[in-house]
Subunit: 265 residues, 2 copies
C-alpha cells in the first residue's frame, strides 16, 4: 500500500483531507466520478462496523477538478447485519459528491446458499490472446491507469461507431495493483462508455454500485484481469443509463453498477 | 387530489408530518419501501426548483410500521439544469429511510434527440384480454391497492415456482388514480418480486429509480395501464438485485429501477 497510484491518490488524512490528483481525469480536466466515489467509499470504510461496502450511491452535485479536497463521513445506522453511512466530498467549500452506502460482511456464511446467474460472464479470449489498446485520449489521463484488452477493437475507436452500445473487455490496474472492493466504485466508471458506439458524449448524474463478492486474489493466467461488460439499453429524452458488470478470474460476479447520465452532445 | 388512497396517504403537513397508513403493508406488518420512498420524493418535490424527479435513491435503515412519521427534506445544490436534495423519513425518533435525489424538467426540449431502445416494451395481450388476479396475500395490503393483469398466471401463484425470476404484467392503481412521477418510486416496488419464482423471500436494502419520462395521461383501450417488467439476474451470497421497467400506454419508457435485496429465506 502506498506504492500504487490508486492508494496514493485516495490517501485520506485523519482530518479528512485528500488530494484529487490529475491522474484520474475524464473529460474537460475534470476528475472521474468513480475516483471521487471510491474516495467516499474509503472514508466510510474507516468508520463502518462491517468490512465490505455492499451498495454505494453517489450523486454528482458539481464537476470536480484536481486539487485539495475534504471528505466527511458519518454513520447513519449500525444494525446487526448491515450498517449505513453517508459521505460528502468537498472542494473549495462546495460539495462535489454526496454518497450514501450500506456496509456488510460479504465473507459471512451464506445461510441461504441460493445461486442464480441469469447472465453469464462475458465470453472473451484469454487476456494473452486478446487485443490490447491504448485509447490515446490525451487529457483523459484515467485511461493511462488501466490496461484494457478486447476480442476486437471497438467501432468507436476505429472511427466507426457500431450503433450497438455494449462493450465487453478485460481490465486491470496498469501498475499491477490488485482490485479490491474499495476500488470497485472507480473500476465501474473507468472504461470508455458504450454510448460512444452511438456517437454520444455524456456526464454522470448518479452512480449506484452493488458490490456482490470480494474479488479473488490475482493468480493463474487470468490473474488480476477482470472481465467487464458495459451496456446502455435506453437513450431517450437527453438521458441514458449505463450498466456495468465486473467478474473476477474465478468467474464470480464481483459487482454490478448502474449510472444515469445526461447527454452533452 | 385527496380522493385517492395514494394522495391521502402521502399527504405531508407544512411541518413534515405524515401518517404511514396500513394500506401499503408488505410482509410482517411493515410498510412498503416504495411507499416510503414516494413520500420522500413528494417532500422533495415541494422544495426543489425543478418539477420532475430524475433519479431517486433510498437506503432502508430500519423497517417501518404504520403510524405517525416525519419527513425532512432539504436542497443540496440547485444547478442550471439539475438540482439535488436529500430527505429523511423518521418515526419514533429514528430514521427509517435516507433518500437522495436529482430533479430536472423532463418536459424540456431534448436538444440532442437521440433515441435508442435496446429492449422493447413487454409484449402483453391487451389488458381487456389479459388475466386479472387478486394475489390474496392477506396482510400484504399493498396488493389491494393495485390491479394486475398477466398473459398467464405466474408459477409462484400456482404453487409451482418456474425457476425463471422474470415477470411481465400490466399494473394500475385500483382506485383509478393516474400514475405520475411522484407515484413511480412506489410503483416500481409494488408488485410481487420475481424471486418468488425461485422460492425466495427478501427485503430491500437500497432502491434507485431513474425517472425517464412523464407517463402519458390515461386514455384509449390501455388507458391507465402501465406495462411492467421485473427481472432478477443475479442471486448470490445471500443477496440479489431486482430491475423494474415501467412503460406507459404510448410505448414510452417511464422509469427504470434497480434494488439490492437481502434474502431472508
Amino acid at each position: 500500500v502506498g506504492t500504487f497510484a490508486f492508494d496514493e491518490d485516495t490517501s485520506i488524512s485523519p482530518g479528512g483531507e485528500v488530494t484529487l490528483t490529475d491522474r484520474w481525469n475524464g473529460m474537460a480536466g475534470q476528475v472521474n466520478g468513480g475516483y471521487e466515489l471510491a474516495i467516499c467509499t474509503k472514508a466510510l470504510s474507516q468508520i463502518m462496523p462491517f468490512p465490505d461496502p455492499l451498495v454505494v450511491s453517489g450523486f454528482y452535485l458539481r464537476p470536480g477538478t484536481p486539487g485539495p479536497a475534504t471528505v466527511r463521513a458519518s454513520v447513519l445506522r449500525a444494525g446487526k447485519t448491515t450498517a449505513f453511512g453517508e459521505a460528502g466530498l468537498w472542494r473549495d467549500g462546495k460539495e462535489l459528491v454526496r454518497a450514501t452506502a450500506a456496509f456488510a460482511n460479504l465473507n459471512s456464511p451464506d445461510q441461504n446458499g441460493l445461486l442464480f446467474l441469469g447472465t453469464a460472464r462475458p465470453e472473451l479470449p484469454p487476456p494473452d490472446e486478446a487485443v490490447g489498446f491504448a485509447p490515446g485520449l490525451g487529457q483523459i489521463t484515467i485511461a493511462d491507469r488501466f490496461d484494457y484488452r478486447v476480442a476486437e477493437l471497438p467501432g468507436w475507436l476505429r472511427g466507426q461507431p457500431s450503433g450497438n452500445p455494449s462493450l465487453e473487455f478485460w481490465m486491470r490496474f496498469a501498475d499491477g495493483r490488485d482490485a479490491d472492493l474499495t476500488a470497485v466504485p472507480l473500476l465501474v466508471d473507468a472504461a470508455a462508455p458504450p454510448v460512444l458506439e452511438l456517437g454520444a458524449v455524456s456526464t454522470t448524474v448518479e452512480l449506484t454500485v452493488h458490490l456482490r463478492a470480494r474479488p479473488a486474489p490475482a493468480h493463474g493466467p487470468a490473474g488480476g484481469w477482470l472481465a467487464c461488460r458495459a451496456t446502455t439499453r435506453f437513450v431517450s429524452g437527453g438521458y441514458h443509463e449505463e450498466d456495468f458488470e465486473i467478474w473476477d478470474s474465478t468467474g464470480t460476479l464481483v459487482a454490478q453498477s448502474r449510472q444515469l447520465c445526461m447527454i452533452l452532445r
